[in-house]
Symmetry: C2
Subunit: 361 residues, 2 copies
Amino acid sequence: MARRPARLKDIAAATGFSANTVSLALRGSGRIPQETRERILAAARKLNYLPNQVAQSLVSRETRTVGLILTSIVNPILAQASRAIERELAARGYSLMLSATENDIGKEIEAMNVFRSRQVDGMLIYAANHTELDHIRPLRKAGYPTVLLVDDPAGQLDVVSVDDRRGGEIATDHLVALGHRRIAFLDAGGGLGNFEKREGYQRGLENGGIPFDPSLVIDPRGHSAAAGYRAFSEFLASARSRPTGLIASNDLLAFGALRACRDRGIAVPRDLALVGFDDIEASEYAPVPLTTVHYGADELSKAAVERLLALVQAPDRLPPPKRFFIEPTLVVRDSCGARSGRGRRRSRARGADAASAVDLA
Amino acid sequence: MARRPARLKDIAAATGFSANTVSLALRGSGRIPQETRERILAAARKLNYLPNQVAQSLVSRETRTVGLILTSIVNPILAQASRAIERELAARGYSLMLSATENDIGKEIEAMNVFRSRQVDGMLIYAANHTELDHIRPLRKAGYPTVLLVDDPAGQLDVVSVDDRRGGEIATDHLVALGHRRIAFLDAGGGLGNFEKREGYQRGLENGGIPFDPSLVIDPRGHSAAAGYRAFSEFLASARSRPTGLIASNDLLAFGALRACRDRGIAVPRDLALVGFDDIEASEYAPVPLTTVHYGADELSKAAVERLLALVQAPDRLPPPKRFFIEPTLVVRDSCGARSGRGRRRSRARGADAASAVDLA
DNA sequence: CTTTGTTATATTAACGTTAAACTACACGGC
DNA sequence: GCCGTGTAGTTTAACGTTAATATAACAAAG
């Protein structure tokens, strides 16, 4: 073998018809009679023909490809979202191109250019920094279908995202309801410009009439369990007075904090109530099963793909941007202490995820 | 805005040169004088020009795109491999297309066809079933650069893979060395045709002179912690005599088994020595830190990309297939009991991953 | 001065496909 | 016998780029 793949022209040569007739027959045009079609189909099969999508794309001006830009595939919750996105796209005949930025805006811009050059029909972007979206805005202005997977408070871009602010708030509300007043926050996002969870945390404190103490906000400089372990260990060593509650901005960080506590003989939840974020698969199987903020990553992905394809198929110019948020819920397990009876009431357990849309006209 | 992206022709019209001159200038040809080049570059920048890679691909017959087919992105170890693959490809100017099969061979074939139609320069395939590779062989025969990320014992395909057989063997050897003789195997792969780990397990038993007992092999029907929990709970409930050791074919299954033990008051490692597979990030932070088979997913990915691109750049026909294996190592933590002094000796801890190549000429 | 070469640019064809326009022939109707 | 209408195709042009070839202007060599 080793020769080049078959083209329409090859089928044409094999059957004696013209390339265009072959094309029409393969696409099932009514202008081609049964018998001709069958002869052409047989030849195509024999030659193992598959249409060259590159050539098709050049003519049709669509690649049926969507670009996904995210910070890291290794983040379990982004992996889960990626799976759902790939699934939704495949079901609609689209392929997925993937690019990871590792939180580097330069790489984010580079990825956008690569995707633009490759003529993807649209992009899904989990932005590295939620406060720096100015490099993305021109894309939309130029008519490029783009959906952001994080919030754009300015409302200039299409958004399908978890309501992280609300997530931070319900986590904090929960600990406040359990009687905690010194609640620390292990926040991987803050240093990277992803401030929503912390805003929710502050709002939760406010709800409970608790003054915000900046010394209780810890930056682990990373998203890994190792970073959480290191940062919380250092915090415990240097803090004047220990908090009774801790919220981690993701579950892996919570795992690290849990280990830091074990090392120092701090019992969770007795001495420290812990709440994580994301509800990754392992969190149910942590040393102390994690109470954590859960959200429907699949539902989110589906909504994002649907919105993106609506933009792709928009007939003329793009409709005005919309923001759509998935409402997170709290999954109460052991690490917060609600089950061991320290608190007064139990928060609702995992339920169907509610969703709400905010329309900015 | 909202008008179509700029083409060479638009720059040509703006500067008064021909499209071909513009093309040459943008690609830095020596045939274009400084001043002309600069005027063209300025116009290109003003028009926000990016070359249309679809058109380039049609001419050059290469897309600089690689297709990755895997079973699930959600599997942490595959996510890690995907990250490294994307990174390696990006560094070389290639883009990544991703497709997940969820262990369905039909989807695997479909993905191969989609990628072929999209003219990817090569494919990396983490096959759903290691015993069914017959749909992949014709690809290679037809001259398509393809690298398998699992073993092909027949040696007809290029392979870059972990030596899972060896992984199963060192896990088993370890437990045998610690004195265990009833060692169970929680094997998610077996039912799916991924038999290497179990073969290694059997070889390990053989090394220790322990007869193989098929009733100790458990099929969890899934890769998740939940599947591991369910399957091992059922096994414990029905088994006549309890094993003293357990090897799980991945870490999430081990997490589930750990929980099943806790529920029944079985202490790990005292009553049951446990070894996992993959060394995912969370395994260090499990209720009992997991002893587990570790391998260099990054190294593997790099080798796979290098081999694939070597095939892509092969001048004439493809060179004969090669198989390359990454040697796994055992990371000894707490769950096997080696650290608590039950065993006689300690296995080596995580080290640099060794690698070996097997050349089939 | 003609030839030869060099420099700067333009023109043409090709990549594999689809869309649009065209042709050739048969068949009814009148 | 001529006209319109299908039927079953073919031919041509286009998508945006690159490669190959052509050309025009001018300079240097003989």
